[in-house]
């Protein structure tokens, strides 16, 4: 395998958890809900996925467990913000703190245990093609899932009735309600979808990226995914591009450290966080770009009048 191929492969592995978590949050925000709890849902997915895979020996059962853990955590968020009308920012923070604590507690028995790695796809002949074989036909299955999900979300939001309803609920919940759409139900469904993809993103970390359980192993990726959604101006295509760009920055830092460049490793480790801030500044400076797709009801609760 040539070095450029190896670098591209690692970039894809670093980008996929960001893309998975962000594509779900994009749908959540398009429906007018701001869920800051991605980090918490992700880390719950990571620990439950690892635990299920370690106990059963099947990585796929781990993936399923992680998805459900993500959904369960997100529904707690839904219960508070949609039914009990709590502040979405504070509730998202609560989900993150709760998730980090609970995952540490669940995972305290799993630290240092060997994990199960999700096997890469292998298609006879195609995966062995020179240059592009591994890259296109030999990734782990979740990479394809993340790309398929992105395409599906793009299509659903722009070309289906369901997408229209989600966008209507996010743009103006009062009008959507007046038209007879069940605003709260639509938002619950979107929140659960966001939880599922965040759970998957967590599973990616503990079953593919580093197949073991490390406390707080999400390392701020949930927050970077949130920033990516803003950066993408709520468009799935731009989101995917942004995710790969960020994965690239992440890997750049790791490679530079490995090659022993005379730059402090801490500076290189901080690159993704610095890049996130820069990206947010660039996108926010362009008011037209950043406001045109911002869901108008973002972060506001909706109490239907009975």
């Amino acid at each position: 395998m040539s070095p450029y191929e190896a670098i591209l492969l690692t970039i894809i592995t670093a980008s996929t958890p960001l893309l998975l978590a962000a594509i779900g949050e994009l749908v959540v925000e398009r429906s007018g809900v701001l869920n800051l709890g991605i980090e918490g849902m992700m880390v719950m997915g990571a620990v439950c996925g690892f635990a299920a895979a370690h106990v059963t020996g099947s990585a796929w059962l781990g993936v399923i467990a992680a998805t459900f853990a993500g959904i369960a955590t997100s529904l707690l968020f839904g219960l508070l913000t949609q039914t009990l009308m709590t502040n979405q920012v504070a509730t998202g923070l609560a989900i993150t703190l709760l998730g980090l604590g609970l995952s540490g507690l669940i995972g305290s028995g799993f630290v240092g245990l060997p994990g199960v790695k999700l096997a890469n796809v292998s298609i006879p002949w195609l995966s062995d093609l020179p240059y592009v074989g591994r890259l296109i036909f030999g990734q782990d299955p979740l990479v394809y899932v993340s790309i398929a999900l992105t395409a599906a979300v793009a299509y659903t939001l722009n070309h289906t009735r369901m997408g229209l309803i989600i966008r209507a609920v996010g743009q103006n919940h009062a009008s959507a309600h007046a038209l007879g759409y069940r605003v709260v139900a639509v938002r619950y469904a979107c929140i659960a979808f966001g939880g599922a993809t965040s759970g998957l993103a967590g599973a990616y970390l503990s079953l593919v990226y580093t197949p073991q359980w490390i406390e707080n192993m999400t390392a701020g990726r949930g927050w970077i995914a949130l920033a990516l959604v803003v950066f993408s101006t709520w468009l799935p295509g731009r989101l995917a591009a942004g995710a790969y760009l960020f994965g690239g920055v992440w890997i750049l830092g790791l490679y530079a450290q490995g090659m022993g460049v005379g730059i402090p490793s801490q500076l290189l480790s901080s690159l993704p966080y610095v890049a996130t801030i820069l990206a947010l500044v660039i996108i926010s400076t362009n008011r037209r770009l950043s406001l045109i797709n911002t869901p108008a009801s973002l972060g506001q609760g909706f109490v239907p009048d009975r």
Binding site: L36, L84, A94, L98, G99, Q266, T276, L280, S284
Partner: protein, 374 residues
């Protein structure tokens, strides 16, 4: 029979009804309810883990208060939580979301440590005063980065202040492993130990320190500001009714700067107090997530500086209780973080009762139509 059950299920439903005005009683009652819920669910979790729930709860919440030694320990932990928590309470009151206090704490500690590390020979009370000032200044300046990005470029302050936490921690890590590593420290990632006037005055058997007084004074001063000054009024108006604030001529931009500078400064001061007090040097880890726990402290204290004092003590108990339970029952100390998250969760949930009341409503369809349909 089946029909009857169906009717029982369908005929009443629990809904939230908006109160005409927010309930003062619930404002006091809801945090207590949240604490009770946390304790009950916590007991259930202990039981699920196969530990005796009552013993565990006793060890967690009561035992830390049974000896003077552990009460001191609780107060030492409550100090930074209260100091950061009062700043955040003012922020959140004004609807400004600084969640990067952990990073501001780190930079404050770094700035204040300039004196003992670079001017170690300067031994005078003024050195300590300078350290305290530098700590607060460092935290405030670091907090002004997200404030500037928000007011100048319109960048969401939640994401930037949080990203800066990671950057600050890496910065501290670089300093203690690189330029500020103690040359005689056997290559451990630690700075030189602070000595003499570079340490806070201590009381008793040497753990209660001057920083606790700073926290208390900060809370009382902020309580007075919020209650009796124009600035306090401004914060309340801008936070609860931004449009009204704008008509009154209160600047949203200045408010963001003020809140970040204040909360960042207090967080920086807390960081300096930690390294010049209980720790006594710089090391890669200087805070067990005080900056994030203080968010819970602010909410549990009703965003009221006096309430924050009590909330800070309660959350400090959760730290000490978590350590105790780890030793006595072999439960992971991660339980602390989970209890803290759960507490915030229940506070938010119970706060719903301030604005809404629970009401059973009848959803029974009109008698005549039911008769007809069935």
């Amino acid at each position: 029979m089946n029909k009857l059950r169906k009717q029982l299920e369908l005929n009443v439903q629990l809904i939230l009804e908006k109160r005409p005005q927010s309930s003062g009683l619930m404002n006091l009652f809801s945090p207590l309810l949240a604490i009770v819920l946390t304790i009950v669910v916590g007991g259930l979790i202990f039981a699920a883990m196969g530990k005796p729930p009552l013993t565990a709860l006793y060890l967690y919440f009561i035992d830390p208060l049974t000896s003077w030694w552990s009460v001191e320990e609780v107060l030492v932990k409550a100090g930074p939580l209260v100091l950061i928590g009062v700043g955040l309470a003012v922020c959140f009151k004004a609807n400004v979301w600084n969640i990067g206090a952990e990073g501001q704490l780190t930079v404050g500690a770094l700035m204040g440590a300039i004196i003992p590390i670079l001017w170690g020979e300067w031994q005078s009370p003024f050195a300590l005063v300078a350290m305290l000032c530098l700590g607060a200044l460092g935290g405030a300046l670091f907090a002004l980065i997200p404030a500037w990005l928000k007011t100048h470029f319109g960048v969401n302050e939640i994401l930037t202040s949080l990203m800066l936490v990671y950057i600050a921690q890496l910065l501290l890590d670089w300093f203690v492993r690189g330029p500020w590593k103690d040359p005689n420290g056997y290559n451990f990632p630690k700075s030189v130990s602070f000595e003499g006037w570079h340490l806070l005055p201590m009381w008793g058997d040497g753990r209660m320190h001057f920083g606790l007084l700073v926290s208390l004074v900060a809370a009382l001063v902020l309580f007075w500001i919020m209650r009796h000054t124009l600035k306090g009024f401004e914060i309340n108006v801008v936070g609860s009714a931004p449009r009204a604030g704008a008509f009154a001529g209160f600047s949203q931009t200045k408010m963001v700067w003020f809140c970040f500078a204040l909360s960042g400064g207090l967080a920086g001061l807390a960081g300096l107090i930690e390294v010049a007090g209980p720790i006594g040097q710089l090391q890669p880890q200087i805070s067990p997530n005080y900056g994030f726990t203080a968010i819970i402290v602010a909410f549990l204290g009703r965003l009221n500086p006096l309430g924050v004092i009590f909330a800070g003590i309660l959350l400090a108990i959760s730290y000490i209780g978590g350590e105790g339970i780890q030793i006595e029952l072999g439960i992971s100390s991660k339980i602390t973080q989970m209890f803290q998250g759960m507490l915030l969760f229940f506070i938010l949930m119970c706060d719903t009762l301030i604005l809404y009341r629970l009401k059973w409503i009848s959803t029974k369809p009109n008698q005549s139509t039911t008769g007809h349909a069935s």
